[in-house]
């Protein structure tokens, strides 16, 4: 599986500059700013796994938490983390399979569609929304009521990566793409993960770990 990993510094700087421009992002929203356009989906990138290379070591999980939750309760974690807090989760199956699962970047965003909270009627933005700067599905924690509909939609229709916070019910487990240089991809000791354009034709696109395990069990263990 060959993939391009060309989210270059310059492109990131470009986006940053756009943002610094203040309001420019919105103004450009329908014109040229399509890197993360959910409808056109052309530049939206996500993390995918070459399952033949993944060994289930869970370094992706610890790398994810180390980057995305670098502080906890005001203390720096210094990479001393619980892997279960990660936005990428290695699902283990018997017969032996390891299926890392993370947000598939679905162009039709069933999670957002399921969100009942309209935050801005003009733009149609909801409590769960696509952050156009980072490309990540993000939560407006102020507005989110923790109903869990997004988690349910993801679980029933796609990968099932959204978890509800045990106390607040608000969604967790959404990939942030680590500012365009995903920590899990960078740290995978087996080179199993890559950061690629969303491809809805990809064999495993949007499939749940259970579905993927079913396919791979047939392939490997029959």
């Amino acid at each position: 599986m060959q993939q391009e990993n060309n989210f270059s510094e310059s492109r990131r700087d470009f986006i940053k500059n756009l943002f610094i421009g203040g309001g420019v992002t919105l103004a450009l929203g329908n014109l040229s700013f399509t890197f993360f356009d959910s409808e056109k989906g052309i530049e939206k990138k996500v993390i995918i796994c070459d399952f033949s290379k993944c060994t289930g070591c869970r370094t992706c999980e610890t790398s994810c938490v180390a980057y995305n939750f670098a502080t906890q309760d005001g203390f720096e974690t210094y990479g001393i983390v619980n892997p279960k807090n990660a936005n990428i989760r290695v699902n283990k199956f018997n017969p032996d399979l390891d299926i890392p699962a993370t947000c598939a970047g679905c162009p039709d965003t069933p999670c957002i569609n399921a969100c009942p909270i309209n935050v801005d009627r003009k733009t149609g933005e909801k409590a769960l929304y696509l952050n156009k700067l980072t490309g990540a599905i993000s939560v407006n924690v102020e507005e989110c009521i923790g109903c869990g509909k997004c988690a349910k939609a993801c679980e029933t229709e796609r990968v099932g990566v959204i978890r509800q916070n045990q106390e607040s019910g608000k969604p967790e487990g959404l990939c942030t793409y680590c500012d365009g240089d995903p920590s899990c991809v960078k740290n995978c000791p087996y080179g199993a993960l890559s950061y690629v354009k969303v491809d809805t034709n990809y064999e495993f696109f949007g499939k749940s770990p259970e579905q993927i395990a079913g396919i791979l069990t047939e392939r490997y263990y029959k």
């Binding site: 060994t55 869970r58 720096e76 001393i80 619980n82 279960k84 000791p189 490997y220 029959k222």
Partner: protein, 600 residues
Amino acid sequence: MEDIFGILLDINLTTRKTENIYISKRDIELFVGGRGLAMKVLYDRIKPGLDPFSEDNPLIFMSGTFSGLPIPSSSRTCVVTKSPLTSPKKSIFEKASTVSYSNIGGFFGPEIKFAGYEGIVITGKSPFPVYIKIEDNEVKIKDAGDFWGMKTDEFDNAFKKELGDNNFQTCYIGPAGEKKVAYASILHTAGRAAGRGGVGAVMGSKNLKAIAVKGTGMPNVKNPKEFNNLANKARAYFKGREATKYWREEGTAGALKSSSDKGSMAVKNYREGTFEQIENYDAKASREKIWKRDYACYQCQLSCKKSGVVVEGRFKGTIVHDSPEYETGTMVGSNLMLTEINDVMKAIYDGDDYGIDIISLGNTIGFLIEAKEKELIDINFLDGIDLKWNDIDSILSMIKKIADRDGIGDLASKGVKVLSEKIGKGSEKFAIHVKGQSLAAWNVHVNPGTGISYTTSNRGACHLNGGDVDRQNANALKDSLAICFFATGWGGFDTNQLIEFVNAITGSSWDENSFKKAGERIFNLEKMINIREGFTAEDDVLPERFYTEALSSGPKKGAILNRDEFAEKLLEYYKSRDWDISSSKPSEKKLKELSLDFLI
């Protein structure tokens, strides 16, 4: 922040009470974690001569200093108890036995840490089958009646369903453990086993089918910033190394061919050291015919484990969780003269599925085949099983007999020492054990160092013990840190790297000497528990075979262990340990030097 030196979760299955026990600063300083700390708990809790199947025998699952931290290959969990398998030649105690420790890779130890504990100590006995479910500080003892009798592979999946949450890490026994086969194993993730010394039988004696753990916490680290620097360096360390490539490509199966070539393999009940047909199921053949993927333990970059499936023949469809490893491939492969890869895969699968230590299993069956071949026993003694070399059907029948403890299987379930005592007629000469624990897959004729490892191990014959004092001490410490041997030997971390981690995590200021001393202390503590049971130097003996029957084939044809030279080597060993040469007891001076005054 307050100093916490660790908590033991104490669960009594008789009273169904659980308690958090705070570990003393001194115990952590002296015994570190993992194997060492668990041995201190064992020492504190058992009376000499305690019946290993009594309620008072603790079954301890201990994480180590590195557990739960992002240090490559720091995944090991040490299971410690008093062994139901081993015994001394003489003792005033009828139920005298050695300490038992057995390590598992995977994810269990880290999860113990995430749940907030150093380890779990289980005593008592439930009146009915149960499992234990631990979620941080919530501990539940639940009915396992529906699962009793279930084999491990099926149970692995059934238990996940029962828990309804894949985030639990689990350890469990199979039918062999339930029936207290003296060398029953404890499994984790279907393909990983704490095999040696009968830990699964002790679990079964408590009517405990399984333990599940899940935690939301993180381990404590004294100097997190320093730790982070070390961890970042360590993660880059394994990249591109020859050793890393080797483990990934071949796993321990890589040793099948090389050990056979060196004459150091267990072949035909240790009669030979080379197996001509080993190329039928060495790493190369397994990669071609069986293996579909490589997999790894927590944070490990070596992925030495290989899974696959049997794709042809009458065992087609047999899942291969992790085989052949060197040990399993040898013990039920070449040691039983099996020549076909699919037969070996099936024998390993069945052994694991019943929850039996494959090493002791292959050793015991090899002994029975030889006894029958020598006409010391007949087919009636074996309940009609026509047990033969390279005969998969009779071998599978015997595995089932042992797991069920049915007929001859009951006697065979007690291990090769008890079997040979029952059969007599000189059969003890080819009963290949030390202190009742079967030798592992390395033959001794060509390698006296392995003989030292076997004779002086505190858990009975053990290939992971180490062939000299320094290695033994270092290994005892590695088992206490929870770091895998494969990541610390050839191509792995050196001692200094481990010391740096210890210092960053615990805030101590260890140097190479403290590292050595800690391992030596742990080893001597184990020794003293065994001494208390009645073990002496008389028990540190190898089977006669290695001195009297030279290898008759292969490149090392004619190799034999020289009795005098080996005795001299052993003597040197005792001296260098400062142990008495007849009682094998450490000197008072040595115990004081190691801060083990309480053992005097």
